[in-house]
Symmetry: C2
Subunit: 513 residues, 2 copies
């Protein structure tokens, strides 16, 4: 086919699609001469490729959906716009917060999904869509066991207590980050004949005039950012499309529409592909926007390295085994183990003049190899005395000494009255040199808002509030699970629980032709 | 025409529209066989009525837009879905906050649009779209003078100091509410041959395949809530549609998508028609959702009457000449003149066990007639002694006496150290019986979010970020001006400044055929 032929072919395809659309309207047009659903009206006569289920995005949600759909017998295509697979998931921190786990039982920690749900709602400022949050809280245990038993994910045998959680309940991948999940997930997919295809960027969700999403238009072989090169292909989804394209933390234009403070240059933990093209497209075909203006800043990070960085582990360690200091006053400025929003807001109020401090006991809790790297890169600094630390970070020494002395008294008393911070069982006082300090800054981490779904991961139409046939969504591109503020380690449950539901339900759809 | 004829007529209309749409796609389909703009694809072959400019909504924004469009020579239709005109505007509080006014000059109050803008951004938690907020801050004076000189609106000669404003800058209509503006605006419109048509509900914005909004489908003679009765009419907008359909504070389903705490039964100051049908329709055709989850609760209202009620005046008075008390403790619980969100959040934390207290000096600042009504309806209660007040509202008397004594000392000192509240010039201490108390509750008041516009009031496409030709939006249906929290008296400037811009620009559009 010449280029002109192709163009003419597409024109006729387009017209034919519209005629079909017209007939569909007319059939249901007793009351109104206009359609009640938004359409992209570009469903072609013939498709370049055809699958039962088409998945967009190769993070946890997309991989889980593809796996479950394939397992249920569907033919599956999985598209990733970036040159590498895994989205934000692969570079995420590796924590998964689950209630009622084997590790908790081993360690005698009492917990329940109801308690996890309560923590999620408290952090979410009660803005959560409760039925969605409940699904994550109650089905994460099953998903975690699935990841161990069926996918082969390996976790460490110590639980982590992340900020905002009432007990230690976070599993931590052996790999130390999200690759501990994405790698085995991709292996299992490959064994089942599904290979995520990279550099394939969604252009349009093809929602037909009958209201059903019937496929996608993608551009193949495209660089990122999309420069309009590459070939357009129309991919049929005979059963359903699963949209799992992630958040928009690195989309400056779109995030500034929702939170104008987050201008260009504001640091982010996200990979460059965390942009809003797919979300915009979903909204264009009539998906319901939910809580788009809640964008999370992750507090315990270093301004002295890009993105997530290595400092996260040190920052998280200091939320339990250290303290955070306002260098202007030498005082603590927040409950170090409060939810992310509370801490990030407190840091923004102080104006980024904040550091995390630990002593030798704390530093020992970081893997030796990682600690070496942190010191080598000068993300964390080591000092023989508190005086040296104070000098280096321009902290008033007297005030700092008093703060540490008060802190140690609180550890002794088992209660931090000043900030209402819960003490851990293995809490030690701060008194063993050498001392360690890391500068702190909050970075854009997670976009809580997105498109509206129900508990079956079905997308909801903004016009009618009803399900959009043929479209499932899961993971960070959806909104409502986390309300105003996501708790640490709850993105994994969100993406994997709803990803699996989406995949199973998509495979279970009736074919539209 | 029989019913069947009509149905067939509509079918053919629909098909023809689609064929035209198809041709339009094909013309621009060099790269893609699918359209880049969302369409409702229902533009009919012939229209039931035709105007240059079609305005949806009869609040401040719609009336101002219609007036300016007509003045610029356009033919104008204005549709209102409710049986009565004026939307939320007609029942609003009557306050308009403007900087640099004649009344401020008379009273020696220094102020500037820059200072108003700063207050708007501080209240908005810096989430405001600054360029939109700036437009309101800087152009409200011109709009206020227009309302006086051209429309004939009458204001009282005392300025009001509303919460969150750094100086007294709010004009107050002679009528005591928003009817002081809607009435003369409707008279001027009528003189110019435009009569707002009630019970005409928007069904669809008709966005053609070329991306332009070309008219609307409305249902005429429809009750509210819309029961699907009434006649569908297609109204051509040869130049543009102005969408000024207001907020969604009374739309339980839509508001709960964005803030699930605001369930059915949560009180609201809004009229029943503050629902999201038009907003949903705007999103469906590709408008950009902005900050929909920011929904404002208005604090100084009474739970002992419905809606806005009469208590608002008393509540506002007590923010300067009284104090607010947590009846459980007898203590103040917030800076009474903080912004609305700060106060509403504090009230929700206390759990609605809050009252506003004033003495005889404060009560004298309320019009005698209104004060009588407040007492008669038992919205405000009068007590000869503080003890009686404490008994009636179950407040610990000792604590209450101490609170008032501390307050009087703060008035004397000219500084409220406890809550950082600024003292007013005419601040008096609380010591003159009889005492007055009103129970307080926050009610849903304003939806800050809505569709995205630029400073020319042009709607922005979610897919491309570009202007949607033929569509202007103004007033509460838009988002961004107020960020997270709207300051008191700033809705008037928002609606009227952007309503006028929308009307003028709509009239200035080139006709599409």
């Amino acid at each position: 086919m010449t280029r002109q032929d192709k163009s003419q072919h597409r024109m006729s395809v387009s017209r034919r699609g519209l005629l079909q659309a017209g007939a569909a309207f007319a059939a249901g047009a007793g009351a109104l001469a206009v359609p009640t659903a938004a359409t992209s009206a570009g469903v072609p006569e013939s498709w370049d490729e055809s699958y039962d289920v088409v998945v967009i995005g190769s993070g946890f949600a997309g991989l889980s959906a593809a796996y479950e759909a394939r397992k249920a017998g569907a033919s599956v295509a999985l598209f990733e716009k970036m040159p590498s697979r895994g989205g934000n998931s692969v570079i995420s921190g590796g924590f998964w917060s689950v209630a009622g786990t084997p590790l908790q039982e081993e360690q005698g920690i009492e917990d329940s999904p109801e308690s996890l749900l309560e923590d999620m709602l408290a952090a979410g400022l009660d803005m959560n869509h409760v039925e969605l949050a409940r699904k994550v809280a109650f089905e994460s245990l099953d998903a975690l066991m699935w990841s161990i038993e069926e996918i082969g994910v390996e976790y460490r045998d110590n639980l982590v207590h992340l900020g905002g959680h009432s007990v230690a309940r976070s599993y931590y991948t052996d790999a130390g980050d999200g690759s501990g999940l994405t790698r085995p997930l991709m292996e299992r997919l490959r064994e089942n004949g599904v290979e995520p295809r990279t550099r394939v960027a969604l252009q349009h969700l093809l929602r037909d005039a009958d209201g059903r999403v019937k496929g996608v238009a993608v551009r193949e072989g495209v660089p990122f950012p999309d420069d309009g090169s590459g070939e357009i292909r129309h991919i049929k989804a005979g059963k359903a499309v699963v949209l799992a394209a992630g958040g928009f933390g690195n989309d400056v234009a779109f995030r500034m529409l929702q939170d104008p403070r987050l201008e260009d240059g504001f640091s982010s933990t996200n990979q460059p592909g965390s942009t809003a093209e797919a979300l915009r497209e979903a909204l264009k075909i009539g998906c319901t926007p939910i809580q788009l203006s809640w964008i999370q800043l992750l507090p315990p990070l270093s301004p002295d390295e890009r993105g997530f960085g290595l400092g996260f582990d040190f920052g998280v360690m200091t939320t339990v085994h250290g303290i955070w200091i306002n260098t202007l006053t030498g005082e603590r400025f927040v409950n170090e183990i409060a939810d992310r929003k509370t801490r990030a807001d407190a840091m923004l109020r102080v104006g980024d003049e904040t550091i995390a401090i630990a002593d030798a006991d704390g530093a020992e809790r970081i893997e030796a190899e990682l600690m070496e790297q942190l010191l080598e890169r000068e993300v964390v600094m080591r000092f023989d005395t508190l005086e040296e630390l104070a000098n280096a970070h321009d902290v008033p020494l007297d005030a700092l000494e008093e703060t540490i002395s008060n802190w140690n008294a609180a550890v002794e008393a088992g209660e931090d009255a000043q900030w209402g911070r819960a003490m851990q069982r293995d809490q030690t006082s701060l008194d063993t040199p050498p001392w360690y300090a890391m500068r702190l800054t909050p970075k854009i981490h997670h976009t809580m808002g997105g498109v509206g779904i129900n508990t079956e991961a079905q997308a909801l139409d903004v016009s009618t509030g009803e399900v959009i046939p043929g479209l499932y969504c899961a993971g960070e591109i959806t909104g409502g699970v986390h309300g105003a503020v996501r708790l640490g380690g709850c993105a994994y449950g969100d993406a994997i629980v709803f990803g699996r539901i989406a995949g199973r339900n998509a495979a279970d759809e009736e074919e539209w032709s």
